[in-house]
């Protein structure tokens, strides 16, 4: 068992990413083990969201160098849907509104795709609804939201809660939460953070991307990284987040010669 815990779940080596010829990520190295919570902090434009999108498989970005290994497989070689089924979950910074697609149908399709991938039969309608009920109460999301089209007309907080609800439904191995705290009032923030904490097990891992320390009062990270200008420039324990909160990002910029 001890041996299993030592195996990296995610291993990013020297990852270089560009978009339209512009380098965004310039050699990222990051290892995440099961059971860990990592926070990635950094000023706007550092490349945090790019990293999240690349892990989820968004094809707007060009990986020019490096490798990403997820549970022993080459992640970069997989379609977004296969990454999801392997256990990657991206909590979107800006969840997309999809009018006409009901949340129920969306989640049912997604859950059954995951089951198919694992060689399981699709859930019956009643089992599916039971699962929905369980997960809804877990993340304190209102039924009126799940009865509507995906994210349509949702407030910022409702959209983020819906992300956590989807995460609860899909039970990922690795959740990458991209600025999940942005635009949240303190109550919504607490709900979102509680959801993440309740879903945490020793077998899954979370990467929390944020540029405020506030969320980290609720989701306590094991490791904090600072991403600046496409590189991880600092890695430490949770106390680093507090230091950043106090001193801002200027000292990081100075240390890195800008």
């Amino acid at each position: 068992m001890g041996k299993k815990l030592n195996i990296e779940m995610l291993s990013i080596k020297n990852l270089h990413v560009s978009i339209e010829g512009k380098d965004i990520l310039k050699g990222i190295n990051l290892d995440v083990k099961p059971g860990e919570v990592h926070a990635i902090m950094g000023p706007n434009g550092a490349g945090k969201s790019t990293l999240a999108s690349v892990l989820a498989g968004r094809d707007l970005f060009n990986v020019t160098e490096g490798e990403v290994n997820f549970q022993g497989k080459d992640l970069l070689d997989m379609e977004p849907e296969d990454r999801a089924k392997e256990g990657i979950f991206l909590g979107f910074q800006y969840p997309i509104e999809i009018p006409g697609v009901s949340t129920v149908n969306f989640m049912k399709t997604a859950v059954n795709e995951h089951r198919k991938y694992k060689g399981l039969d699709p859930l019956s309608a009643s089992d599916f609804l039971k699962l929905m009920r369980e997960k809804k109460s877990l993340v304190e999301i209102d039924s009126k939201l799940t009865n509507r089209s995906v994210n349509e007309g949702f407030s910022g907080g409702e959209k983020k809660k819906n992300e956590i609800f989807q995460m609860a439904m899909l039970e990922p191995k690795l959740a990458v939460l991209d600025e999940t705290d942005s635009g949240l009032d303190i109550d919504a923030l607490r709900v979102v953070a509680n959801g993440v904490n309740k879903l945490k097990t020793r077998d899954n891992a979370t990467i929390v991307i944020t540029h405020y320390q506030r969320l980290l009062d609720y989701i306590v990270p094991d490791v904090v990284h600072v991403l600046y200008d496409g590189r991880i420039v600092k890695t430490a324990g949770k106390e680093l987040a507090l230091e950043l909160e106090e001193k801002g990002y200027d000292w990081i910029k100075e240390e890195n010669g800008k």
Binding site: E79, P80, E81, L90, I96, G100, N105, T109, A110, Y117
Partner: protein, 453 residues
């Protein structure tokens, strides 16, 4: 290829040589209307692309073909009631059949109709109920503006007639199925009249069903008068084969406080042209005009609509959506007239198109003519591709690309389907559209509400 003059001359010959047959069995009012319509047709002819209203639909190839024309009811050698059974689960309707545009002679008796409701053929109605028929026939479909309508009126022999008397509510939808069944290529002229009296309510579903693979040209005109406080729904389902031409003109007149919803769903057909004209002729009317088209291969669809706010305080909502794939082409024209005294008009229109290939074409043209000054009107047209962000969002949850695309297309179309006010029909259309978008009913020989035959 024949030129337009030859086509028009052929129709003149048909009219003159077939005059005796045309007059036979039709009432004096029909024949008088016919005569005037022919004069209009002689001036207008079959519209060509030089006509601004037909700029995007070339009818010459549709008409340039040796069709058979039946100027007399043809006995059917089988029992169509046996051949045709609709299998939509839970869709319980009052169903009548037409054969090549004529009211079928052996329709089953409708036993559940409320008292006073009349459903029969147009010829029969002209003869048996002249006071109703003559008050409405030829009053709404203008023959001096569109050669297609003039031609229909000149050649009109039969079609369906539906009368809903004052205060009568027909719970079960009336379903009219036109069966196209011929051993030769056929041009069918169908002329329908629907009269909904004060405080009455009715829902009508009209569909076509091609029983053989011959080339069909259907030219149908439907006149509808909806009296005060009446509520009326008209669902038109177009699902023929690639070798068919559908010319479908509807003229709806509304009286005060009436509420009309129409939904024209084009799933399949070689060339489809819908002319949809509404006049809000008294105050406080509500009109909802919806449509959806799903076209691929070389199919063509053209929805030409006009909503005439003739009187104040009326509301109209118009929304058409289309999904175009392969080399399919289409057009939408949405005219809204707000006449000078039609104050407090609210008129909303939109047309949204999803293009799935580089070769698909859509021409969309909103046209608002507003002569009143206290109105609320809006229009909008969009032509776009699949939303890549939405696609990625679905895929990021484990849904494969094909399925994700399907979900988004279906969602796009569903906005129109959900306007259907007959629940089992809505579910059935949902299912059909889903299949249609998956390419599972590409070779279609069944009617839009999939029937056993």
């Amino acid at each position: 290829m024949a030129d337009i003059n030859t086509i028009n001359k052929d129709f003149a010959d048909l009219f003159n040589q077939g005059n005796e047959l045309l007059l036979e069995g039709s009432s004096d009012v029909m024949n008088e209307t016919r005569k005037n319509a022919f004069q209009d047709f002689s001036k207008l002819g079959v519209p060509t692309r030089a006509n601004e209203n037909y700029k995007y639909t070339n009818l010459i190839p549709a008409f340039d073909h040796p069709y058979n024309v039946n100027l007399r009811y043809q006995q059917v050698d089988v029992d169509l009631n046996e051949i045709f059974q609709c299998d939509v689960p839970e869709l319980d309707t009052n169903m009548v059949l037409l054969t090549n545009g004529w009211y079928y002679g052996n329709n089953k008796e409708l036993t559940e109709l409320p008292k006073g409701v009349i459903i029969c053929g147009v010829q029969e109605a002209a003869e048996k109920y002249p006071e109703i028929f003559n008050a409405h026939y030829g009053k709404y479909a203008k023959t001096d503006e569109d050669g297609v309508v003039a031609l229909n009126t000149a050649l009109a022999k039969d079609g369906f007639f539906i009368y809903v008397p004052k205060g009568v509510v027909i719970e079960k939808p009336i379903q009219v199925v036109n069966l196209l069944r011929s051993d030769r290529d056929l041009m069918a002229t169908q002329r329908n009249l629907i009269v909904v009296e004060e405080n009455a309510q009715a829902k009508i579903i009209v569909c076509d069903h091609t029983l053989t693979h011959h080339k069909y040209l259907t030219n149908s005109v439907t006149e509808v008068n909806v009296a005060r406080n009446a509520i009326f729904d008209l669902y038109t389902l177009q699902n023929q084969h690639l070798n068919s031409v559908i010319l479908n003109s509807t003229f709806i007149r509304q009286e005060s406080n009436s509420n009309v919803l129409s939904n024209t769903i084009s799933l399949y057909g070689g060339t489809i042209r819908n002319n949809h004209h509404v006049i809000l002729d008294e105050e406080h009317c509500e009109n909802n005009t919806f449509g959806m088209y799903l076209m691929d291969r070389d199919q063509h669809v053209d929805n030409f609509t006009s909503i005439d706010h003739a009187k104040p305080n009326c509301l109209s909502n118009e929304h058409f959506k289309g999904v175009m794939d392969d080399q399919a082409s289409g057009a939408f024209a949405g005219r809204i007239f707000v006449r000078r005294d039609a104050q407090q008009t609210q008129a909303f229109q939109s047309n949204n198109n999803l293009l799935l290939s580089n070769d698909a074409v859509i021409n969309t043209k909103p046209q608002l003519v507003i002569d009143a000054d206290d109105v609320k009107c809006s229009h909008g047209a969009t032509v776009g591709q699949m939303d890549e962000d939405a696609l990625f969002y679905l895929r990021a949850r484990g849904i494969d690309e094909k399925e994700a695309r399907q979900m988004l297309m279906f969602a796009f179309a569903h906005e129109i389907i959900e306007k259907i006010r007959v629940e089992p029909l809505k579910e059935r259309i949902d299912e059909l559209v889903d299949k249609r978008l998956r390419g599972e009913i590409s070779k279609c020989n069944t009617c839009a509400i999939a029937c056993n035959h």
